[in-house]
């Protein structure tokens, strides 16, 4: 039986990817950020799963122009890094676990989530920056990755509660997959940030830290945060945090928090990172 053994939350700021790719991780502005990921880089060595379900949003790289899916599942054999206007990131190809992805796609639709299946997409920094932060710069990613892509760009995004429900359905889908697989789920994006207009640069550490505090043991409080509240409190791009709720819900009721990190800023953004494991 497949099981979800751990969950990781992390921001996916594109400038973090650039700092890694350009060898700037020890620059004074960047070092404190990368120091915050040393713990997970060490932990993952002994806890590399077979498959990661990686929840992220596409930043107008593979979708959002001609097609705007609320929830989309990557269903190609492999995914190349997208060229976001400065050339592709020199990172490994992302390989899918087709059998588990297919099973999840079936189960989610049966459970009334009207999922979009993406048979040919490139993955952008939303997917590759979390992989770089956790795995560093390997020749190949050490496990399979199922991209789960959420619309957080065009209003209305799915609600916080809908993301929670999707996470619960993913948990059930993984548990009903017959093959013995160690699966992690990652929720990415956030924390507070705004990338537009005169209000750009907004950071709300109180909101972010309350979110991190409640995510482990009082996540029900987070399911009722409205889209409007996310926009007001965490900036127009802070609503990416709904993807952390997919991760948290997929882990079941009890989690053990192994590690947490919060730092302002990376480029325009508050960086948050958390690692949970499910009890044995």
């Amino acid at each position: 039986m497949a099981r979800i053994t751990a969950g990781i939350g992390t921001s996916h700021v594109p400038a973090i990817g650039a700092a890694i790719d350009l060898g700037r991780t020890q620059d004074p502005d960047w070092k404190p950020i990368f120091d915050g990921y040393e713990w997970v880089k060490d932990w993952i060595k002994d806890n590399t799963p077979d498959v990661i379900i990686l929840c992220y949003n596409d930043h107008a790289s593979a979708m959002m122009l001609d097609i705007v899916p609320t929830f989309a599942l990557g269903f190609a054999e492999e995914f190349e890094p997208a060229d976001e206007g400065w050339g592709k990131r020199q990172v490994p190809t992302v390989y899918n676990h087709i059998e588990l992805a297919g099973h999840i796609a079936e189960q989610l639709v049966i459970d009334e989530f009207d999922l979009t299946i993406m048979n040919d997409i490139d993955v952008d920094h939303g997917c590759t920056v979390p992989l770089s932060l956790v795995f560093g710069q390997p020749e190949e990613w050490p496990c399979k990755v199922i991209p789960l892509i959420v619309n957080v760009t065009q209003f209305p995004t799915p609600s916080a509660n809908r993301c929670w429900q999707l996470g619960e359905a993913i948990r059930d889908a993984v548990r009903s997959f017959p093959q013995d697989l160690d699966v992690q789920i990652w929720g990415t994006g956030g924390m507070s940030h705004q990338l537009q207009g005169p209000r750009a640069g907004l950071i709300n550490p109180e909101f972010d830290n309350a979110f991190l505090d409640r995510l482990g043991n009082e996540p029900d409080d987070l399911r009722t945060i409205t889209r409007l509240e996310f926009l007001r409190e965490s900036g127009s791009e802070g609503i990416e945090l709904i993807m952390w709720l997919i991760m948290r819900a997929a882990m079941g009721y009890n989690v053990e928090e192994l590690y947490r990190f919060y730092r302002v800023p990376a480029s325009n953004t508050a960086v948050g990172h958390i690692v949970y494991k499910t009890p044995e």
Binding site: L195, Q196, P265, N268
Partner: protein, 133 residues
């Protein structure tokens, strides 16, 4: 009637913020098509060689074309644009996202970077036009 937690007009109540809706997406469709075309190296080269001629390949409005030529990101957002599309343009220019974003705030890139290093912009007074909180 189904219940709603708040009137959708409230989305217009956030200071300095345009919420990107389906309507705005449609308004900016051809602008965004241009932005996404910059995901190919040969298109970036063609754009850099003759920006105006390249823009004329797209069914954008004259205002949108002028705002691209001016790199006026606030105006591009006013005309329907969304930052995730627009950064394809600033990436093509070799700008960092921080520089592109700072250009919308009335600050110099250095002033904006200093504000971010000091913890960013406080939400106090930035939540609601109506409530001024």
């Amino acid at each position: 009637m189904r219940t709603r937690l708040y009137p959708l007009e409230d989305l217009e109540d956030i200071p300095g913020t345009k919420v990107f809706t389906a309507k705005r997406s449609r308004q900016a469709y051809h602008l965004h098509k241009f932005c996404m075309s910059l995901m190919k190296a040969e298109n970036r080269e063609a754009f850099k060689k003759d920006e105006r001629a390249y823009l004329d390949r797209f069914r954008m409005t004259e205002d949108q074309k002028q705002a691209v030529l001016d790199r006026d990101f606030n105006q591009l957002i006013e005309l329907g644009g969304n930052i995730y599309f627009l950064v394809k343009l600033s990436n093509t220019d070799g700008w960092s996202t921080q520089r592109a974003v700072s250009s919308m705030t009335g600050m110099t890139p250095d002033q904006y970077a200093a504000m971010m290093r000091e913890g960013g912009r406080s939400p106090t007074g930035q939540r609601s036009k109506r409530d001024r909180n």
